[in-house]
Symmetry: D2
Subunit: 346 residues, 4 copies
């Protein structure tokens, strides 16, 4: 079988370089070209010396990347993907966007939270939102995909079975998420200076994070009604990983056993979701460096509150890994190809 030629735009960002690593290990993919505006002309291994002698490809322009690829991944700041998508589609190139431009179906939401507009409405109609465990059927055969945000992935997987089954109240959902620093990207900011992060912990953008409408759109689809959530992200002093602790009101008559049964059913054949047995809490450690999402289910019977903890590696299931999973589905490759990563014990 001939390998698919893969181009990565924004290859020197954190999601980009993680894509490079995953695709180098993918048996049916061949990285054909890397694009980087900041490092054009440099080798990727000059920017990331971990790749020395493993991938010494030069960074090219976006146009060069598109011209040389069957599939293009873009990991660029929001607002920059729409033009790239248009070029790719015109070039008969599959386009997978790791940014936010195609994630929201409602242009009003996009305007309000990102301050931009939909430049090519047809593309937005053609785009599919790629959480395979929830929308696998829609992804197959598509050529334009919006890869979900890291927080939304962890939350959608944690809450969807409960919403689908009608076990929980649709209002009053509280989501307290915590993310490692790679989520903030490679750019230099005071808030990602080592001394600011280390031995520190705090919330940021309380109830104002741009992932909020994306979270709500997915949860609303799963619930079949409009869901509004309170979402508070925090910054963890670790490199990788997200833990989302989700608090919801259990509807009368339902117990943890109902929830466990529903989750077991919904995820029973999913290669990348584990429902943890009673007594275990989802933790970042057990999923990092893998494409796995761990979910633990708890019920506080004193207050009738269900608590779902979900853990993912924000750069894999929350970015590059899920993007490859989506690519596999789009290209009709077995879904786990290149993603059989075992989370190390440490």
């Amino acid at each position: 079988m001939e390998k698919f030629r893969i181009g990565i735009i924004g290859a020197t960002g954190y999601a980009g370089v993680e894509l490079v690593r995953l695709l180098l290990l993918h048996p049916l993919a061949e990285i054909s070209a890397l694009g980087s505006v900041s490092f054009e002309g440099k080798k990727i291994s000059e920017v990331y010396p971990n790749l020395l002698e493993i991938c010494d490809l030069p960074c090219l322009t976006n146009e060069e990347v598109i011209a040389q690829s069957d599939v293009v991944f873009a990991a660029v700041p929001h607002g920059m993907s729409q033009e790239l998508a248009a070029q790719c589609i015109q070039n008969k190139c599959v386009f997978i966007d790791l940014g936010a431009d195609f994630r929201l179906s409602d242009e009003e939401d996009y305007k309000q939270w990102y301050g931009g507009e939909f430049k090519f409405k047809g593309l937005h109609d053609a785009a599919v939102y790629g959480i395979p465990e929830l929308f696998r059927g829609e992804i197959l055969g598509k050529v334009l995909l919006a890869n979900p945000g890291c927080y939304p992935t962890s939350i959608a997987l944690a809450l969807s079975p409960a919403l689908m089954g009608g076990f929980i109240e649709p209002s009053g959902i509280i989501i307290d998420s915590k993310s490692g620093v790679t989520g903030a990207g490679r750019g230099l900011t005071q808030t990602s200076h080592y001394v600011d992060v280390n031995e520190n912990f705090g919330a940021y953008k309380v109830a104002q994070h741009r992932h909020t409408p994306e979270i709500e759109e997915t949860l609303s689809r799963m619930a079949g009604e409009k869901i509004t959530v309170t979402f508070v992200p925090h910054l963890l002093p670790i490199n990788r990983g997200i833990l989302s602790t989700c608090y919801v009101k259990l509807k009368e008559g339902f117990t943890k056993e109902h929830l466990r049964a529903a989750y077991a059913h919904v995820y029973k054949d999913e290669p990348f979701v584990r429902i943890l047995p009673d007594g275990l809490c989802a933790a970042v450690r057990n999923v990092k460096y893998s494409n796995i999402c761990d979910i633990s289910i708890h019920v506080d019977e004193r207050t009738n509150t269900a608590v779902f903890c979900s853990a993912i590696d924000n750069m894999i299931k929350g970015a590059a890994g899920q993007a490859v999973q989506n690519m596999n589905i789009m290209l009709s490759i077995p879904e786990t190809t290149g993603l059989e990563l075992i989370p190390p014990a440490f």
Copy 2:
């Protein structure tokens, strides 16, 4: 002025050794004796070489400590303080308990959550629960004090003004707390092994932590009605610090401005509480190594949810520092004596 002779029982635990450090710097206190069951006969500086040539006192028996002290602090596992308290009171010694034995006023709660009973009911009646900002008037002149738990301190300070003012619904309170590892103590357990904690993050004892009844008792006192909360603690890969993110429903008609005014009023003369200006979120970094509690107030208008973030140093305001603050009040010493610790920038 003659200095008070201070004894510390359980001096080689984390709270104990932090008490040693604070009291060495206290101008009106003199450490008269240290007690440690595990290290009896050893110098404290053999256990903690940071204290070499600064405090080389030997570890004595509890009886010796009590005999040589005007004030005794005990930082020992729950269940062990009641006898100590009885001995101290008999010896006319002020007793400050950093453990849980005297925190709960309801023996049923103590039985249910700690599995023990009240051995000396008179002592329990005489004991005062010591959050100075809320109960200062009751602390003055007392000789037996229960120093609050670390999580309860952070939460009581965060929510009390809102409950006292009637701004928030008393039901449906969600508290998502995160603590550094010193909270788990010096004992050797797999969960405090460096490799287990580092680059990891997760919840533990979801809705089952023993601090729950203590939190509820204080919040109920402040609200004037029975409060039940959902409390989920998490373990942070840092040494010190607690951040509690508290989610409550704002009652109709109230806004962030009402909350800000109430908090400013309640805490306006408090030396150890800071209400942060809009735009800042409470963070562990800004309070560690100090006795300060930072509180930030946020309102999610989309869901009418108020979010309070509070940050403390779990070993100071959450343990040893608050204990010294309480001692100062009990002894009619100026309350900030020995506690003018400036949180370092890093």
Copy 3:
């Protein structure tokens, strides 16, 4: 091709569980049995929940492991491997020891540094010391192998070409090594408590570490004369990785260019050694989660001192990865099989 049946004794230690992970990904190996004295009867995934649904094998006795395997790895405390080796050899099982029992050829050294003796002298004669880059020819076809220590691996690779080429003085070698905490093992000790390690750094066992004779034996072999070194290990607040900084006197007439040429020659076909270009220093980050050793070469012309920095992942090239590399050679499998791990950027 039928897969080799692999048994792992000491599977619940850090080196053991890393072997599990690597061998699960090895296309020609099948884990047949896991052994653990501490956790006999439990599933490995109960001890390490990262392996849940990935490897749920139970922990068996050592005898059961040996009976079910073609190749046995042992990652047990020193003194325990000699009996295991004897049983394996008797059972026609290949034996790869990750401990120290077979590393030293001189029994006197073993007695002096480890306090034991050679129980089966014939086994010691049959054993080969497995640093493939230096002793590949001797490894092929052997059935009993001593996998090197983590520090010795990093040091032998850093200094061997210089010693083989006669570029440096054989006396006065100073080795300052720094290791992550996994090197100290999973056992509970005060020195691996999170709070003791985090935000700390110091040396330990200065000039007294048991790896010293192993380092000296290999360097002596490479130099063709007796080498004695000063070796000082330090504990780093990280999970994985070793950096060794080696200081040697450059012989008159030699320059950095001579060294670079020699290192390029010796390692030119090595898949797991990278000689870094000028301007880069070997760093743990660039090799962790891989079997690669990075070496940077520096010369201080003011003092005529050559400085070699070498970085490895202590659990992979310093333990489990090198053990698999050795297994591949012993079994005439392509050497890189199962080890094509790309170090992630973070």
Copy 4:
């Protein structure tokens, strides 16, 4: 006693803000003005919210600071202090420079390593190099002081008694130092990005660090002959602290006991130097947040090498604390005033 009016130029850098913290606690000092080019017009507590309500002074121009102060500390990049010193001296202001401009007595060294020149030679003649334990007599009464670099402080204290006593060979000294990230400053660089530092470790500027001539000048003064060293710094994933491991050849006839006696003698009345008992190694943990330097003495009898480990808090004894110590001496205040900081256990 009237308090000295203290100005701090460069107050928003790491050394500057640490000076702010220490001087706020100094009973004989009053911070009169803060200077910052980057944040002029902002309050220091806007840049460092840990100082909120504790120090809300605005950042002024350098000229304003000098005009309002009896003593000026400058913590600015090298090359910028000479003009400031001239202004201060003219204004009869004591000047303490935390930068490198006045540390080297030989202008050639300054040119070679820093690329600048001595603008006011008279000032350089008047300046004193301030390691109190070695040069106390020269500091008293001076008005212009060069506060030493962090690495040089840790190294000079570790090696001076051995050199003064003639116990060690003056050639072949190897110094392997490791520093926390605050040493690199608050500025945004890729090498201080959290993700680059965390779980990483490596050397930098091998044998090329600008502290080298400063180290050599001090060691040469102590030895009474020209000393050249090999100095290799490394970056530690911690906020604070330096550990220097120094390797020297012991002269024939001398033993560890000679060294211990000499060190005990030289430092016997020093409030900020501790010579550790046998069995302990100097470690960052035991000195951080204090002005203490811990030194442990080791001898490798197999190679006749003495190893000195010294640990300091790079921001206190290595910067702000030593600067205050020097100020105290210059102003004839008791030397430990404001510096009785007890290193916390964690």
